[in-house]
Structure formats: C-alpha cells, structure tokens
Point group: C2
Chain length 152, copies 2
C-alpha cells in the first residue's frame, strides 16, 4: 500500500469516474433487451418509474428527481406522449408548468416492469449486502458531487 506515483492516477482503470462511467453504460446494455419488450429506452424507463411512484408530476419535479434539464425532458416526454404512455397538460393553476400524468396504458405497463429490477440485481453479481452498500456509497458521492457542482 505504498503511495502511488502521480502518473498512476492517470490510468483509466484507476479513475473512480471511469468505473462509474463504464458501469452506467453496462447497465444501459443490460436493460436494453428487457426494455425493448416494453418499448422503452433506459431514460424513459426511469421517468416511468418516477411516475409510477408519484403520478401527475410537473416537468420540473421529474427533473429535480432525475437531475435533468427541461431541454432533456421535454423531447423525452413528448415521445412518451406519442407512445400513449403519458399525457402532458398545462396546469390550470399555473399555466407555466406542465403536468405529466400516466395514461391507462402507462399505468398498466407497471405490471410488466415489476420483474425487471430483480432480473438486474442478479446480473450485477452482487450479494444483497454489497449491493446495498454500493447503493449507499453512490448516493452519498452523488449528493456531494451535486452540492459542489452548485457551489462551483
């Protein structure tokens, strides 16, 4: 455990950011065949998860939970609308915001989606305890990163 020379920190596999980057793409690839059956992309699936948890959210609310801008969400939500999974309506109380609600088909899709998370956990090769620890460490890290991104 001698301290690593400086150049060691500039090796791809030694960068924590790279392990996150590549893990994220790995998840994407694992999910793809499962989500293809539902007609969803990976980010669309995450939006649907958020709506299954809480229906009738504003674009802003979804964006805060997912850490995404309206410039990302608006086109994505329009595609979900075109697929008849959600509806988008201006809030009568405040015409600035758009409320996103599940259609019948969108709500029904939940049943098909419910088996996915356990399928995925298996593919990670992690025991439940490690998975929980990893989950906790990642959220802690993300919250710190988001906080220092805001501060600049």
């Amino acid at each position: 455990m001698a301290d690593a020379p400086k150049e060691d920190l500039l090796q791809l596999e030694k960068l924590l950011c790279f392990s996150v980057y590549s893990a994220s793409h790995a998840f994407n690839r694992i999910y793809k065949p499962l989500l293809d059956e539902l007609g969803l992309t990976y980010p669309q699936y995450l939006v649907m998860v958020s709506l299954w948890q809480e229906d009738n959210q504003s674009v802003r609310s979804i964006g805060e939970k997912m850490y995404l801008e309206s410039s990302t969400l608006t086109p994505l939500l329009k595609r979900l609308e075109a697929a008849d999974l959600v509806s988008r309506k201006r809030d009568p109380k405040d015409e600035r915001s758009v409320r996103v609600s599940l259609t019948e088909a969108g709500a029904a899709l939940r049943t098909k989606a419910e088996k996915i998370p356990t399928c995925i956990l298996e593919a990670t090769g992690l025991d439940l305890e490690t998975a929980k620890r990893l989950h906790r460490d990642l959220r802690s890290m993300r919250n710190h990163l988001e906080a220092s991104a805001v501060k600049g």
Copy 2:
C-alpha cells in the same frame, strides 16, 4: 430490515441503476468546468487518459478499454484530431486498423490534466478507503454486467 414489498423496488431512489446513472451525470457536471480549460469533453478526456497511459493504440484497443463502439469513437477521435491532439494513421502492417497517436500538443496536455483527479476525489466527499471500496465494487459489478450482456 423487513423484506420490502414488491412496489418498493420500483422507486427511483431504490434502484441501484439509478444511483449509477445519476452519479455518472454528476461526474460529468463536476468535470466540465475543469475540462473546459483543456478544451476537452468528458469522454474525450477519458480517451486521452488511455492514450497517455499507452500511446499509439488502435481504435479497437481504445474501444475495448472504454467499452465503446467504433461508431462512437470514430467521430470523437476525428474531433481530437481536428484539435491537433492526436493523429490517425492506417497501420501499414494491417490497413484495416487505424493507429491513434498523441501529437506533441496532446502529450503536453497531460501536465495540465494531472491535477484533475485529486480535485475530483475531494468533490466526492469520500474518504480514501470508501473511495477504494466503491471503486472495487463498481468494477466487479461492471464486469459481471458486461459478462452477462454478452451471454444474453
């Protein structure tokens, strides 16, 4: 620690994949201002890291290390070439493959980049031990995910 009901698994913050997804974007946002000074995007930076570690690689070799397809790398490498950071030449031994090499400017950029990883580690808010554990858990998971993606 009672076993969670099934619907609990379909909450955004309870999905391991989402913690990876959002952490990946958080890294992107943290790196951006630092990389802007180098004139690099985040994926371009990762390619440069790989080349600083081992110069004169084929597109295929870079793709294997980064888990990326040529359809992603070719345009990215052309942008690095346009920025005079790398050169792309067909391998005379095998004209199918393209060798990517650092230019003088590309090699020189390494010095400016060396201070970045330690800046980032600080922003994660992780102590060194947790960071190492997280790194190890992530790579293990990614390797499992990649393996089961191949198997189908």
